[in-house]
């Protein structure tokens, strides 16, 4: 049920690069949010250094997850809510599906949640004959088009207004228009009916609060408020790490989340939900279920070098800065999480060998670390993943990706440590490369595994004499003078 296409990274990336619509959209997205977020950090009264404080808060939560989750579930159960601990995707999906079937749910409305993408919830519901309506406008467009999101925060960024106009005129029976306001109005009307008739609401969770026992949901459209208020059953999903100890931790975390996600000072709506509709209250779900998901996260937790990744609050800020994401788009990453966050978290969740291209594709430029509201050192972990691919790793069950390369570098390291060997290699290659040097004195066509060097650029042949030899010669001449 879960769609993982990380093996197609190269093909999808090439597709993305050759798609002019996507290129334009990505450039506009990064220009707007990337720069906006950087400026929003600078304008913080505490300065960009606040991100370090946020990192400490998140890390402390991750290191005390056991207590925090116990407290959260105890609080929610005391209000009559249900808490289910799902060790993997299947368990989480099964629990939600059984809950839906118990209540004879025919239509569920859903707020955007990456973790439900991770576990493949929609496909499971479709297979069981239950309609799940995505209600975030971007997700709704993608669902109508039968596609998958390409950005954590702006899922439909790869679609133009005329494509959306065509889609809506066909699926919603409205006259063709390209006006975003009219299109939004049409979606508002169609989804309003769904909100009012749905039997179940499904949401994610941004950052739960252990102290008070609430989950929180954040949106700008108000769709998540609708999904969690109107239907009689609410099922919320959270990755087990999405929690903090104290209520007051949210001060820093929400301010940074809003800035990271959309360069806002504060998101449009933040809701605290701690259980079903209490006595005396007229409106709210009769039943509240919280599904806490592991699905590979304890393995990340157990490795101190990757533990930091669990601080992530899935805001998408790193996507808006990443030069690689900015060219290839989200679909190449082949799973729920794209961009730099996907390049680290996806290999850890689905297998490092299986998703190797994701971490090999990034540039290590460090832009993602500067953009991260909780100051996660993504480049460090990208390098770590690469070293595991180069050497193999038993703990993560990684097999060495390229033995030939390993041997070659072994030989190389022996050569560069010996002057005579290095010189011999230089003169050998000088002679050898003569055969590949073209008319204009450039090498543009190397054979076999060396092809990569000249595939997209020409290479200059080595100089006739090495620098060190030239230096020595000129030194002699200087002395003669």
């Amino acid at each position: 049920m879960i769609r993982i296409t990380t093996e197609k990274y190269r093909d999808e990336a090439i597709k993305g690069i050759n798609d002019p619509v996507l290129q334009k959209a990505l450039a506009a997205l990064q220009a707007r949010f990337g720069r906006g977020t950087a400026e929003a950090y600078r304008n913080l009264p505490e300065g960009p250094g606040l991100r370090r404080k946020a990192h400490e808060i998140r890390m402390k939560a991750v290191e005390n997850l056991d207590f925090l989750l116990e407290r959260l579930s105890e609080k929610i159960r005391s209000r009559g809510g249900h808490v289910y601990f799902a060790s993997d995707a299947d368990a989480a999906v099964k629990y939600c599906l059984e809950t839906a079937q118990k209540h004879n749910v025919r239509l569920a409305v859903k707020g955007k949640s990456m973790v439900t993408e991770e576990i493949g919830l929609n496909d499971a519901f479709a297979a069981a004959g239950i309609e799940v309506a995505e209600t975030d406008l971007g997700e709704y467009i993608i669902q109508l088009a039968g596609e998958h999101p390409s950005h954590i925060i702006a899922p439909a960024i790869h679609k133009t207004r005329s494509e959306i106009g065509l889609l809506f005129s066909e699926k919603l029976n409205i006259p063709y228009t390209t006006d975003p306001e009219t299109l939004t109005r049409a979606a508002r009307k169609a989804l309003r009916e769904k909100f009012l008739s749905a039997d179940m609401g499904i949401s994610g969770c941004n950052i739960a609060c252990a102290e008070t026992g609430h989950i929180t949901v954040v949106s700008n459209e108000g769709n998540i408020r609708m999904s969690t208020t109107l239907p009689k059953v609410h099922v919320a999903f959270m990755g087990m790490e999405r929690i903090t100890a104290r209520l007051s931790d949210h001060d820093i975390l929400f301010r940074l989340l809003s800035r990271g996600a959309a360069a806002q000072k504060m998101a449009g709506y933040v809701s605290y939900i701690g259980g079903p509709c209490p006595a005396g209250q007229a409106v709210g779900p009769d039943e509240f279920h919280l599904v806490i998901i592991d699905n590979g996260r304890t393995k990340i937790l157990a490795d101190e070098e990757f533990r930091e990744m669990l601080c992530c609050i899935r805001c998408g800020a790193c996507l808006n800065m990443c030069p690689v994401y900015g060219k290839i788009g989200g679909h190449a990453y082949g799973y729920a999480y794209s961009g730099p966050v996907g390049a680290v978290v996806t290999p850890l969740l689905v297998g490092i060998n299986r998703a190797k291209d994701l971490c090999l594709g990034e540039t290590l430029c460090g832009a993602c670390k500067d953009a991260c509201p909780v100051d996660i050192d993504l480049p460090r972990m990208l390098l770590l993943l690469r070293s595991k691919l180069a050497d193999g790793d038993s703990k993560w069950n990684v097999r060495r990706e390229n033995t030939g390369e390993k041997i070659l570098y072994g030989i190389w390291s022996e050569i560069v440590r010996r002057r005579w060997a290095y010189d011999a290699m230089l003169s050998l290659s000088r002679e050898g490369l003569k055969f590949f040097t073209g008319k204009e004195g450039m090498i543009s066509n190397l054979p076999f595994f060396l092809k990569g060097w000249t595939d997209s650029r020409d290479m200059k042949p080595p100089a006739r004499e090495s620098f060190i030899r030239q230096w020595k010669k000129s030194e002699k001449q200087r002395r003669v003078k």
Binding site: L29, L65, D66, L137, P180, E211, M240, K265, M266, G268
Partner: protein, 260 residues
């Protein structure tokens, strides 16, 4: 015992953290452990409670500025009856989004009752739906949702309002239903100037205090609202009124000392 997988799940986490299952729970929730932050909260609470009328008015100015970029209307009024007049004027000007009939949904809240807006609305033939405080039955509840869904204006108060961002903080409570600020096309909030605070730091300090003084305070949940519902999902073009209210008005009752 069926604990929905909790024991095994938590044990796995403990194993991953390499901690002994019997370790004592660290001071994760206890505020007493952090003297510096206690001192800071005392200072902040003092600052809020001793705030002069003039600096509250300054906060209001800051809020009016913060409201502009998020398309939020912050309108100072001198008295509650003034607020009522303004709201009725708004109700007469605006047209309903769904259907032809004009109706308004209201919180059952002391400030709104004091405003006495019902009589004026009735005179103008505008219907009213009140959040029902009594334990609502199933049919009652469905009726309330249905009627709120066609209301074109929802009137609430708020617990706090944050000047820095123009954020309304609404604790859910009987009579203060969350759909009144959600389903109607226009959300109107009426607050007193004393409820305006500077920033989120002040908010969370106050909430911490509320947590200690009246633990039931946010038990039923809480909502922050910053401006009208919005989306930029079609070619990153900003459109207001995606699913929630398309317009939001905050009327701030300043008392007679407001110079304007």
């Amino acid at each position: 015992m069926n604990d929905n997988g909790q024991t095994k799940f938590i044990n796995n986490i403990r194993k991953a953290l390499c901690v002994d299952g019997k370790r004592a729970c660290p001071d994760l929730f206890c505020r007493q452990s952090d003297e510096e932050s206690i001192e800071e909260s005392v200072l902040i609470l003092d600052r809020i409670s001793n705030r002069q009328h003039s600096s509250r008015l300054q906060l209001l100015e800051i809020m009016i500025d913060a409201a502009k970029p998020v398309n939020l209307n912050v309108i100072p009024v001198k008295t509650l009856p003034d607020a009522a007049q303004e709201i009725v004027k708004l109700a007469c000007e605006k047209q309903p989004e769904w259907g032809d009939e004009k109706s308004v949904a209201l919180w059952k809240h002391p400030l709104i009752e004091e405003m006495n807006i019902g009589e004026i609305l009735r005179k103008r033939n505008i219907g009213m739906i009140f959040s029902n405080q009594t334990d609502a039955g199933k049919t009652e509840r469905e009726r309330f949702i249905k009627e709120s869904a066609v209301s074109f204006i929802g009137i609430t108060s708020a617990d706090y309002c944050i000047a820095e961002t123009g954020t309304l903080v609404l604790k859910t409570a009987p009579g203060n239903e969350r759909i009144v600020s959600l389903l109607p096309s226009i959300h109107v909030a009426v607050i007193k100037l004393e409820q305006v605070i500077a920033d989120f730091k002040e908010l969370y300090t106050l909430l911490d205090k509320d947590l200690k003084d009246s633990p039931e305070g946010i038990e039923n949940g809480m909502t922050f609202i910053t401006g009208p519902s919005k989306t930029a999902d079609i070619e990153a073009t900003m459109v207001h009124g995606a699913h929630g209210p398309r317009e939001v008005y905050i009327y701030v009752v300043t008392g007679s000392l407001f110079p304007g």
